[in-house]
């Protein structure tokens, strides 16, 4: 598909560095799937759907900064959604979100909660103001918080809230790779699903830019089971834009 033009209907400041952009087109929302967002003349970047008609963006560099300059009635291009989303499980569920990693987990929380699952969310951020979607998580279950600077909740990484003996049927996780690696070191990998971040070019499983060993993040993922990732370079190496292997 060619990029579809979407028009911004509302911009919401979620945190000092994160904004949600609602637009005039809805996509089928399978939490964890992503769209390629084309900021014309600048770049095209992957973003999870945080609502069926919105993306939630952290400003980190040129493309996201260009997005932050857009207002209501401005437009950008979208193709997708692509990739595989989270597989929906029931029972006792834990969500672990680091920073903007909460973006795909919030709609997931709402979906599994409507199935009657019991949800505990561990939400981490740099500082209190940066905690993303706390209300969305609170309204569907228990929320535990950690901040790097101790301004709220546990002082330190969100993984500090995690005990090896977590007795959950499934753990869903999205955040910085280091954090996700730690989660895998603590809990039983086969019960986890993690949404990965790799440099995406084609987004449709052809070019191979996003590969973690043989796995395509854009197509076989971005969501993988922890035991699949355990057998790969995940958490140790990633590829930069040239395809060079670099330490995570």
């Amino acid at each position: 598909m060619k990029p579809v033009n979407v028009i911004i209907t509302k911009v919401v400041d979620e945190t000092p560095t994160i904004r949600t952009f609602f637009f005039d087109t809805s996509f089928e929302l399978i939490p964890g799937r992503f769209v390629m967002v084309w900021i014309r003349g600048v770049d095209e970047i992957p973003m999870a759907l945080s609502y069926e008609n919105a993306i939630t963006v952290q400003k980190v560099g040129p493309a996201t900064s260009a997005l932050f300059e857009l207002e209501e009635c401005d437009s950008f291009g979208i193709r997708g959604p692509y990739g595989t989303g989270f597989e929906i499980k029931n029972g006792s569920i834990m969500l672990i979100a680091g920073g903007v990693g909460a973006a795909p987990l919030a709609p997931l929380a709402e979906k599994i909660s409507s199935n009657g699952a019991k949800i505990t969310t561990l939400l981490g951020a740099r500082t209190r103001d940066e905690l993303l979607f706390r209300e969305r998580f609170e309204s569907v279950g228990e929320l535990k918080v950690a901040t790097d600077d101790g301004s709220e909740g546990e002082h330190g990484y969100v993984t500090e809230l995690l005990e090896a003996q977590e007795n959950h049927d499934q753990i869903y996780c999205c955040g910085p790779e280091i954090m996700m690696k730690k989660v895998l070191d603590i809990v039983e990998p086969s019960r986890t699903q993690l949404s990965l971040h790799r440099y995406i070019k084609c987004g449709i499983g052809i070019c191979g830019a996003c590969c973690v060993d043989g796995l395509r993040v854009c197509r076989d993922g971005p969501v993988f089971s922890g035991d699949v990732l355990k057998k790969t370079e995940f958490g140790v190496f990633r590829r930069n834009e040239c395809g060079e292997r670099v330490r995570v």
């Binding site: 449709i204 191979g208 060993d213």
Partner: protein, 296 residues
């Protein structure tokens, strides 16, 4: 039944992974090998690390894709490891390489250990590389000659269809000593976003691949087969076993598959048995169908 020897390499089947598809990491190449490819070709590798053109670098169009990756690659200095990993897939690994002039090509080829080399003189969207040299038969001959002199592994030359007469570049490659030619790389193309008038690709234009270009590729293979003594490897728009057979009938000794891998990563193991069944029914061997369109 499908096995063959191609420029000295033994292939279980004539279906290879095309350059630039799942070809940057050893792990992805190995995966494709394990998915049934007869051989795999790496992403085109150059002198220095290169991040490629800015995104969008690929866009789907009717019946195909436009891409302008811009030859992102980690440089040959970081690539032997990947080849070594790829080789664990137990099929020949062909290193696709590119450069600006003959010396660059041979420097890279000399430094890498691979089962064969494919010289990319045909990428239509990288300044000073690819098509910029691949449209000039003299340069093609020089580069081929330089690489042949530098190494002993087989050398394939990948041709661009974006020329008035592909036979003359094919002949140039042959004169330079190429062991085979590969046809075709992508066809120059462009798409514009009508909402804004903006060219969609970061690089504005790119190369067309996929089903749309199959008839173009078939014609190139057919023409090259008529004039060359060395084998032609066909690529462009193959998405099922019928396409593969059509290429071989046009005169391809073997084929490569690119874009269609995205839709179906198992395409190699899907095609092989269907081809075998078809040929068994017809009581044809690979040799029988090879170049058949020239006989009837």
């Amino acid at each position: 039944m499908l096995s063959l020897t191609l420029t000295g390499l033994k292939l279980e089947n004539p279906l290879m992974l095309a350059a630039g598809i799942m070809g940057t990491t050893g792990g992805s190449l190995k995966r494709i090998a394990e998915c049934g490819a007869g051989a795999v070709v790496t992403k085109s590798i150059g002198l220095e690390p290169k991040s490629g053109h800015s995104n969008p670098s690929m866009v789907e169009v009717d019946c195909g894709f436009l891409n302008a990756m811009g030859l992102p690659n980690p440089s040959y200095k970081n690539f032997q490891d990947e080849i070594d990993t790829a080789r664990k897939g137990s099929v020949p690994v062909i290193a696709s390489i590119f450069g600006g002039f003959a010396d660059e090509f041979s420097e890279i080829a000399k430094a890498l250990d691979a089962d064969a080399f494919e010289l990319n003189v045909s990428c239509p969207h990288a300044h000073g590389y690819g098509t910029d040299i691949g449209t000039d038969p003299e340069l093609v001959e020089d580069i081929t000659h330089a690489v042949k002199k530098a190494i002993s592994a087989p050398v394939w030359v990948k041709l661009t269809p974006n020329v008035t007469d592909i036979k003359s570049t094919g002949l140039a490659a042959q004169r330079g000593g190429a062991d085979a030619v590969v046809a075709i790389n992508t066809v120059r193309g462009m798409a514009i976003d009508i909402e804004t008038g903006c060219p969609i690709l970061g690089n504005r234009f790119g190369g067309l691949s996929g089903r749309a270009i199959k008839p173009v590729a078939i014609k190139c293979v057919f023409d090259l087969y008529e004039v060359l003594d060395i084998p032609v490897i066909g690529v462009g728009g193959i998405s099922d076993w019928r396409d593969a057979v059509e290429f071989i009938m046009a005169g391809a000794r073997a084929v490569q598959i690119g874009s269609a891998v995205g839709e179906n990563i198992n395409i190699f193991q899907d095609i092989s048995p269907c081809m075998e069944a078809f040929m068994a029914e017809k009581q044809w061997t690979l040799d029988d169908i090879y170049g058949m369109a020239h006989e009837v």
